[in-house]
């Protein structure tokens, strides 16, 4: 596997895990940081429509879907890895 793709997939898994296991009380705060990142992942994958705002408890699943779409788009994902890493470190 391409090392950039592998790094992105690893970082995506880490962020998704964090979001899916996060206490409900922390999710609204996490959403403040996560939603703009989801917008960027969608933009990198070539989506032109805004990412819909859904319930905070679905942030992890939404991140997983958008990350997978970026991987499937074949677009370079090194920036995505860096962004997800920074997000993970900033999450509450």
């Amino acid at each position: 596997m391409d090392p950039d793709v592998e790094a992105f997939a690893t970082e995506l898994d880490r962020v998704v895990d964090r979001l899916r296991t996060m206490p409900m009380t922390k999710l609204p705060s996490a959403a403040i940081l996560t939603r703009p990142v989801l917008d960027e992942l969608a933009r990198m994958a070539g989506q032109r429509t805004p990412v819909p705002v859904i319930a905070d408890r679905a942030l992890g699943s939404q991140c997983a879907v958008l990350g997978r779409e970026l991987l499937d788009s074949g677009q370079p994902c090194r920036a995505g890895s860096a962004l997800l890493r920074e997000l993970r470190l900033a999450l509450p």
């Binding site: 403040i32 940081l33 703009p36 920036a79 962004l83």
Partner: protein, 239 residues
């Protein structure tokens, strides 16, 4: 649905345009007019109008719109609000006004991996609007007793923070986020200069304020100045 408008001080309100994820602010004048700070994303005007209605105001009451910086989550709804208010345009710092006049967005920080790659992506689009007033560092805008402009570049070149001196409300803009009980910087990928954004936020440590309000996140009402100063010191932005 949470109340879209929260009173911060007499005549000063926070309007959550996506919960408290993206905030606008309203300053009520004694004559009944409103100064609006930031306009959120493209679809934010409906939340702003709903918030204004809760304090008995209509978009026609908005006499001035101030934008903290030229990112689409702050100016996406500007064109619609300017039209609804019947204004000629918005007020913002000259450095970011240049991007709005060109119909572009400020560059990303090329010292970061993500910033370099994002720079190659096409800009997000937003509805065009006029800049009717250019703001400068230190300027006291004639708003509800005076709103001080503090140029805090880095997040964007023309990023400003605002201090309402009479009520002690500081609007940090995107210099600092409040994610729940924790203060943090904006992610570097969304800054023009991440390092500069952190260093100019240090200015907050020298200001007098009672309430810290954020464009992203809920306000801090208790020991706000102390908490901001502690954050800046711990993150190495001030000694």
């Amino acid at each position: 649905m949470p109340d879209p408008i929260v009173a911060l001080a007499p005549g000063v309100y926070r309007i959550g345009t996506r919960g408290n994820f993206i905030n606008s602010f309203a300053f009520a004048e004694p004559d009944g007019s409103i100064t609006l700070v930031d306009c959120g994303l493209k679809k934010a005007p409906s939340a702003i109008v709903r918030g204004l209605a809760r304090i008995g105001k209509h978009p026609h009451d908005v006499g001035r719109i101030v934008l903290t910086h030229a990112h689409d989550d702050h100016l996406g709804g500007a064109a619609e609000m300017i039209t609804a208010a019947g204004l000629k345009g918005a007020a913002m710092h000259a450095a970011d006004a240049a991007f709005v006049r060109a119909g572009t967005l400020p560059p990303r920080d090329r010292s970061t991996t993500s910033g370099r790659i994002f720079a190659r992506l096409p800009d997000r689009h937003y509805a065009q609007f006029a800049v009717a007033e250019v703001l400068t560092d230190g300027q006291l805008i004639d708003v509800a007793g005076g709103l001080r402009v503090i140029h805090t570049p880095g997040h964007t070149p023309g990023h400003i923070s605002l201090l309402h001196e009479s009520t002690g409300v500081l609007i940090t803009g995107d210099s600092i986020f409040n994610i729940g009980s924790r203060l943090t910087w904006a992610l570097s990928a969304f800054c023009t200069s991440y390092e500069q954004s952190k260093s100019t936020a240090a200015l907050f440590g020298d200001l007098d304020f009672e309430i810290a309000a954020f464009t992203h996140g809920p306000e801090i009402r208790n020991k706000a100045r102390e908490r901001i100063r502690t954050f800046l010191t711990r993150r190495g932005a001030r000694p």
